[in-house]
Amino acid sequence: MPDGPLIVQSDKSLLLEVDHPRADECRRAIAPFAELERAPEHVHTYRLTSLGLWNARAAGHDAEQVVNTLIEYSRYPVPHALLVDVAETMDRYGRLTLHAHPTHGLVLEASDRAVLAEVLKSRRTSGLLGERIDDQTVVVHPSERGHLKQVLVKLGWPAEDLAGYVDGEKHPIALTHDAVPIGGGPIKHWELRPYQAQAVDAFWYGGSGVVVLPCGAGKTIVGAASMAKSGTTTLILVTNTVSARQWKDELIRRTTLTEDEIGEYSGTRKEIKPVTIATYQVLTTKRKGVYSHLELLDARDWGLIVYDEVHLLPAPIFRMTADLQARRRLGLTATLVREDGREDEVFSLIGPKRYDAPWKDIEAQGYIAPADCVEVRLTLPESERMTYAIAEPEDKYRLAATASGKNRVVSRIVETHPDDQVLVIGQYLDQLEELSAHLDAPLITGATTVRERQRLFDAFRSGEVSRLVVSKVANFSIDLPEASVAIQVSGSFGSRQEEAQRLGRVMRPKADGRTAHFYAVVARDTVDQDFAAHRQRFLAEQGYAYRITDAEDFDPA
């Protein structure tokens, strides 16, 4: 015990020393109940949360196991209060159960009457629960199953959901292990990577939940494999049309599904097929004050619902999804951080985190390209500093982010990577237009038609075009396997997930094993720099150590 790899702090954080010989063993032991919070080079920080402990209970771990694990790996005596708290927290789980009653339908049953009384008394549960059957059982409106679970978690009495899932309409789907690679070429054999298989198993065992994998680690394949496991009709919700097309292509290549079986439900097309891919946007479109496309959710007896990029789930979807609790739900994301702090709602509506792999682990296994992150600091010229100094606070970020000197820095960086496919990513259209002209590179923005986007992306993939200037439309879900350099000139303020997603654009493993480069060009001594520091936090916590260089001495390394 005195030489364990883990230090248990009384504030419920767990510090895991990575270089310790027993670190891996320990990581596996604590993973079921502790949330990985930060994963920098030497010491990873995990945190014990109520939700995490309850998820562990749901997955069949008991308090004793948790306590023993902590004691076994801890270097110092474990704070007693923490152990007591772990036991008490885990004991709260399962006092309430949700299950299907033969006559009353969905019911909430309590093994502890006082708990049920407390829950019934709470104002939050009003309207969610129906009549009382006896002093331990109460009817639940089936449509409020998700909402009720969410409320119960907030009340501190999480319900164990034993009501199960509807099977859904059967539809055979299988993985084909021979696929044509994306750029064309001979058919290649492929298998699920070990972590993908683990993720699918973890999801399937848990029934519903979120799988967190780094960008470029093959989340689509986890989706496809889950569909194959389910073997049912599936509704896939994605962020935009381009992404919908990519899903479709990928499914056709990797599974037995044919083009006819996959429908696209977007602004332009409204197909409902055994496997339907819909965009968040179309679902949240309101016509005359009502969501007109909600019927899609009930259009078929879906057996599985996949949420791509679940961290972007818009708030209305939260509400709509609440009554889909009887169906299996799979959430996919690389960065479950939301600046609106609604991570918990994602967990309670879609399900707990079922699988999470630190980016650096996947990188070490060679499935994503190693990346070199550099922050380039640009000193503004005197005149711009004066303009900045007297600008209104709300204009400062825009001023700093679009500093004209950035164009020069970007072109110098581009020059140092003559053989790479370079993406320049930014937030402000006028800045991007300038850059596009400056670099003589095509520009893709929200205004670019889907057809044009597809064309440009294809050209970029095939190497016809080696530089591309893109707005935030390319933040997510755009597969550009050969892109190896990304230059970020501006972003949406301090968004951590945006930064990570943008890095993700260049993280597909390269054919020649090249290192990917990610540059963030930042104006020194401005809010741009402060936002950059915040944006980098997620990646820094994943172990991507940013190098900071001055634009002046930017050295073609």
Partner: protein, 777 residues
């Protein structure tokens, strides 16, 4: 008074003799010996309680007096009166309050048996010499309380022996036992004491005990101890920079408590405890100034130099003996006023005794996670007739946990050591700075984890100390990083603000990086290196300073040489920019000095426009110059003749060369003795005196109001005496020798020691003050 007694007789306490107790039914030997007397002594058959008391050996009597100190104060005239007092209601009540459950059960049974007619007892109304049979025996009592096993019977025996040693039980005949007269009434004045339902020779076991490994208990105690030291240290540093004011009624104001709590990142209750700890250890104290504030004492110097364990020793020793009740801070007293921390309303005489009882209870309960309710139950068993309030028990337990005397609810090694240093009434056996501190510090050292010298630096600008940080690391972390999590390990984050703090403290970027790379096993991450250098680059780019005035010129050449000119050195000129000099003195002084050098300097206003002639001579900056202003207005000797007279008075006052204790501080005029100063201001006092009344008697002397107040303040602080010249309501002058207690709100509260009364005087009625050098009181 009882407490004083208790303290006085402690040295011999542990030598309590075993009293004479017999067990008739078994027919075993009747005769016991006193253990401490050394002489075997047979028990004489006697029939009354006073007789029994009189027959006690000297040692036994000493034991009685020791166990019941109230019997000796005031000293009784005869043994008979001692016996009467021992049977008095008040004394018995006191004695019973200290008895534990089995003793009370035994006494209750004895009283009941004696009442039921089986024994005549020894009530004072009994005639001497009346045959005392049949009697109650120890076995009867044992049977009555339900003590059936031989062990239980032995326990009853022991209880009776202890009760006898306290003169609560006596032996009317060999083998017989009887309650002291009056005991029946005290035990239960109305109904006969019912026999106990359950014989409870041992304290109740805690409900649902959670056994704890000693290592866990000690580790948590050590963690708490380190944290307590850190909290006090943070407080001391903060108060050093900004001493909080003392409330008019004493104590620390609510806002300052909140502020301290925010600073320490704890709630108000814990903050109050920490504040009381710091004050208890003598690190901060009321400075007695006007207005008074809490400032650091010289003991804080020792604190600064001490290591963690020594510091903890200081805190623990102070806590072990304190009578303060920080848990009452923030509650309201009978008048509805808030009790502030450090206020007088928080002292309770019973605290030390209760603390010892609690620690004893914890020691008995052993290494289990103890809840306050368990301790209360234990204490209720120990003294059922004087159960301490639960809030006090909870409060003391919280303090013990905070200080690291307990860990996870159980008594830690540190707590055991502390208990060994305490006597039963809670008086600490050592004074501050003495052995106790060293012993406690040494004990803490044995349970503190080894300090760690490593700081693991990471690319996300965080760092982790995987253990208890060493002294050097603590300093580094405090100076240059924000702590994110404390406990067995410490995690920190470096931010521009934290690095700025380190740079403010005088570190340079290179020093800081050198230190970081020395404590880190891995190279300093590039991001951190850049952060430090970048912060240093921006550090101090804006600078703020104080200046009295400035000199500016359109032509830099005019200013050249002025700052270096020795004749202008008194102006404190600094060149800020080619055309601007800053001066330390007011504008008028600079102007005249420059003119003296032949430079035509013009004054300008805040708007940069020339002012022309300055209407007033140099004005003194508002605030911070009160003394100077007083000096300007103080009437001073105008001619040499007057100066000579003053010198003469000084000589007379100095008399035998004895200097007044106030001399050095009175009125801020160092080197002039108090009375002399007072007389020097004679004329002024005459002016302030009432127009109708006669001037104070010649030679008594009075002084200017400011000096009078200064003298009074000194006297309040030093607890000294002064002669007060007053003017009463009818305009008559009075002269009183008093000890000033408090000076505020325009009133002086003082103790007239000769008359033994306290008087409150409005300051404007004080015509003068003379220091009184006579220490006799």
């Amino acid at each position: 008074m009882a407490e004083r007694c208790a303290r006085q007789d402690t040295p011999a306490r542990r030598a309590a003799p075993v009293g004479p107790v017999g067990r008739g039914a078994t027919g075993r030997a009747r005769v016991r010996t006193t253990s401490s007397g050394g002489r075997a002594r047979s028990i004489v058959r006697m029939s009354t309680f006073p007789e029994a008391v009189r027959a006690l050996t000297d040692d036994a009597l000493v034991a009685v007096l020791r166990a019941r100190p109230d019997l000796a104060y005031p000293s009784p005239s005869t043994l008979r009166s001692l016996a009467a007092r021992a049977a008095s209601r008040t004394s018995l009540d006191r004695a019973l309050a200290r008895l534990d459950t089995p003793t009370l059960q035994v006494l209750g049974a004895l009283v009941t048996l004696s009442r039921s007619g089986r024994a005549p007892g020894g009530t004072p109304s009994d005639d001497a010499g009346r045959p005392p049979l049949p009697t109650v025996t120890a076995d009867d009592v044992a049977a009555a309380v339900g003590a059936t096993t031989p062990d239980d019977a032995a326990a009853v025996d022991a209880v009776l022996a202890r009760a006898t040693a306290q003169a609560l039980v006596w032996a009317p005949a060999p083998g017989a036992v009887a309650p002291a007269p009056g005991l029946d009434e005290v035990l239960d004045p109305v109904a006969p004491t019912p026999l106990p339902e359950r014989w409870s020779p041992v304290p109740p076991a805690p409900v649902d005990p959670r056994p704890l490994p000693t290592a866990v208990v000690d580790a948590e105690a050590a963690g708490a101890a380190v944290e307590a030291v850190r909290l006090v240290d943070t407080l001391v540093r903060a108060w050093q920079d900004a001493p909080p004011p003392v409330l008019r009624s004493g104590g620390l104001g609510v806002r300052d408590v909140h502020r301290t709590a925010r600073l320490l990142e704890v709630d108000d209750q814990v903050a109050a405890t920490v504040i009381e700890l710091a004050a208890g250890a003598g690190l901060v104290d009321d400075d007695g100034e006007d207005p008074p504030s809490y400032v650091l004492t010289t003991r804080a110097d020792a604190w600064d130099e001490a290591g963690t364990a020594e510091r903890w020793g200081m805190l623990a020793t102070a806590w072990a003996g304190t009578r303060r009740t920080p848990w009452l801070a923030g509650t309201r007293d009978e008048k509805g006023a808030l009790r502030p921390p450090l206020g007088t309303g928080l002292s309770r005489g019973w605290v030390p005794r209760l603390r010892t009882q609690i620690l004893t209870a914890l020691a008995t309960l052993g290494p289990i996670g103890v809840r306050p309710a368990d301790v209360c139950a234990d204490l209720a068993w120990r003294s059922p007739r004087a159960v301490p309030p639960e809030s006090a028990v909870t409060g003391l337990l919280a303090e013990a946990a905070l200080l690291g005397v307990t860990g996870a609810g159980a008594l830690a090694t540190t707590g055991r050591t502390m208990l060994d240093l305490l006597d039963p009434d809670g008086a600490s056996t050592s004074s501050p700075g003495g052995d106790a501190e060293a012993v406690l510090a040494a004990t803490l050292t044995t349970i503190l984890p080894e300090p760690v010298d490593d700081l693991l630096l990471q690319g996300d600008l965080t760092g982790v100390v995987p253990g208890r940080p060493s002294h050097e690391l603590v300093r580094l972390i405090e100076d240059a990083a924000e702590v994110e999590s404390r406990g067995a390990a410490t995690t920190v984050r470096f931010t521009p603000a934290s690095v700025t703090r380190a740079l403010d403290a005088g570190t340079t970027a290179d020093d800081l990086l050198a230190t970081l790379s020395r404590v880190s096993r891995t190279p300093v991450p590039q991001a951190l290196d850049y952060l430090v250098r970048d912060t240093a680059r921006r550090h101090a780019s804006l600078r703020v300073g104080a200046a009295g005035s400035y000199v500016r010129a359109a032509d830099p050449a005019v200013l050249t040489g002025l700052a270096e000119d020795p004749r202008l050195a008194g102006l404190g000129l600094i060149r800020l920019a080619p055309t601007v000099l800053a001066a330390a003195v007011p504008a008028a002084a600079v102007q005249s000095a420059l003119r003296g050098r032949g430079l035509a300097a013009a004054l300008e206003g805040p708007d940069g426009q020339p002012l022309g002639r300055l209407a007033h001579p140099a004005r003194i900056e508002r605030g911070g110059a009160r003394l100077l202003r007083a000096a300007y207005h103080a009437p001073g000797p105008a001619s040499d003749a007057e100066r000579l007279a003053l010198v003469g008075q000084l000589r007379i006052a100095d008399g035998g060369g004895r200097r007044s204790p106030f001399a050095s501080t009175a009125g801020g005029t160092a080197g002039v003795s108090g009375p002399a100063l007072a007389r020097a201001a004679l004329a002024a006092a005459g002016r302030t005196g009432p127009p109708s009344g006669p001037t104070p008697s010649a030679g008594a002397g009075t002084i200017t109001p400011g000096d009078a107040l200064a003298l009074l303040r000194d006297a309040v602080r030093d607890g000294g005496h002064v002669w007060l010249h007053l003017v009463d309501g009818r305009g008559q002058p009075l002269r009183r020798r008093v000890r000033p207690l408090r000076l505020d709100a325009g009133r002086l509260r003082a103790l007239d020691t000769q008359r033994g009364s306290e008087l409150t005087v409005a300051v404007h009625r004080i015509a003068g003050v003379d220091p009184d050098d006579d220490p006799g009181d």
